[in-house]
């Protein structure tokens, strides 16, 4: 796992959580949008927070696609769940929110899960699958490459 791949995985985790926070903050300024007046959602696009949120979620999607091009889905999803921990810590130390015991337990379980998956290879392929992909992949990754 080189620096570029680590940065891509970190990007998936950070862009998703920061994008959600930015969108939530922007949308809270508008209050509830009813189905009868759903076009009001477009006026939210004037909010700098909403624009920032959309930009961050686009960055998330690009990093997510890039991460899935070199690592398994069952590696990327647990590895990038570190974003939940980052958000909880930001909420505690930056926004001074209280974090319950249950939430700390959740953070501990996520960290444990990430530790488990990170010790294994990032990419695993069956022999049959490797042969199938060999003709289509621009750069065929080595079996078990991490």
């Amino acid at each position: 796992m080189n620096l570029r791949k680590l940065a891509t995985l970190a990007g998936v985790a950070l862009f998703a959580s920061c994008g959600d926070v930015a969108l939530a903050r922007g949308m809270k300024q508008f209050g509830a949008i009813s189905l009868a007046h759903w076009t009001a959602v477009f006026s939210a696009l004037a909010s700098p927070w909403v624009i920032l949120g959309i930009g961050l979620l686009l960055a998330f999607f690009v990093s997510y696609l890039s991460a899935l091009s070199f690592a398994d889905l069952t590696y990327v999803l647990p590895a990038t769940s570190l974003g939940y921990i980052v958000m909880a810590l930001l909420a505690r130390f930056f926004l001074h929110e209280n974090i319950s015991f249950l939430r700390w337990t959740g953070i501990f379980l996520i960290a444990l899960g990430v530790g488990f998956v990170a010790r294994g290879p990032a990419l695993t392929l069956d022999h049959e699958r490797s042969a199938d992909l060999a003709g289509n992949v621009h750069h065929a990754p080595a079996r078990g490459e991490s």
Binding site: T74, L77, Y84, R103, L125, D126, H138
Partner: protein, 126 residues
């Protein structure tokens, strides 16, 4: 009846989100490491590989369906139930689908990781 609707909604979110993730992951595995592709053939080749990939866009379509199902399920019940339930169940269904459809080697280590993260996400999102 409200609970039945809620769980049907959560099931739809999990189904569509998993289909989206699996299709996108399969599509990107076929493209190969985009970092290498970028170094060898440049940005144009990367963009072309993405735009012409029908599986990728089908995955994006399913992801969008998952998002709208989530919005609908949220209108039927509290975010404190729908959010954690759909997020943690999606982790588990993704692990199972990755093994079945993407033929990833989901060994004991990855199953434990998926279970730990699914439980952790449920607790954090509560």
């Amino acid at each position: 009846m409200r609970h039945l609707y809620t769980w049907a909604g959560i099931f739809a979110v999990v189904l569509f989100a998993t289909a989206g993730d699996v299709l996108i992951s399969g599509a990107m595995k076929r493209v190969g490491d985009v970092g290498h592709l970028f170094k060898q053939q440049g940005l144009r080749a990367v963009i072309k590989a993405m735009l012409t990939n029908a599986t990728l866009w089908t995955g994006v379509f399913f992801m969008a369906l998952g998002f709208f199902s989530l919005m609908t399920a949220l209108s039927w019940n509290d975010v404190s139930l729908v959010g954690p339930a759909s997020a943690s169940l999606t982790f588990l269904s993704n692990a199972l689908s990755a093994k079945l459809f993407l033929r990833e080697r989901v060994d004991r280590r990855r199953w434990i990781a998926a279970l730990l993260v699914a439980s952790g996400v449920a607790l954090v999102a509560l």
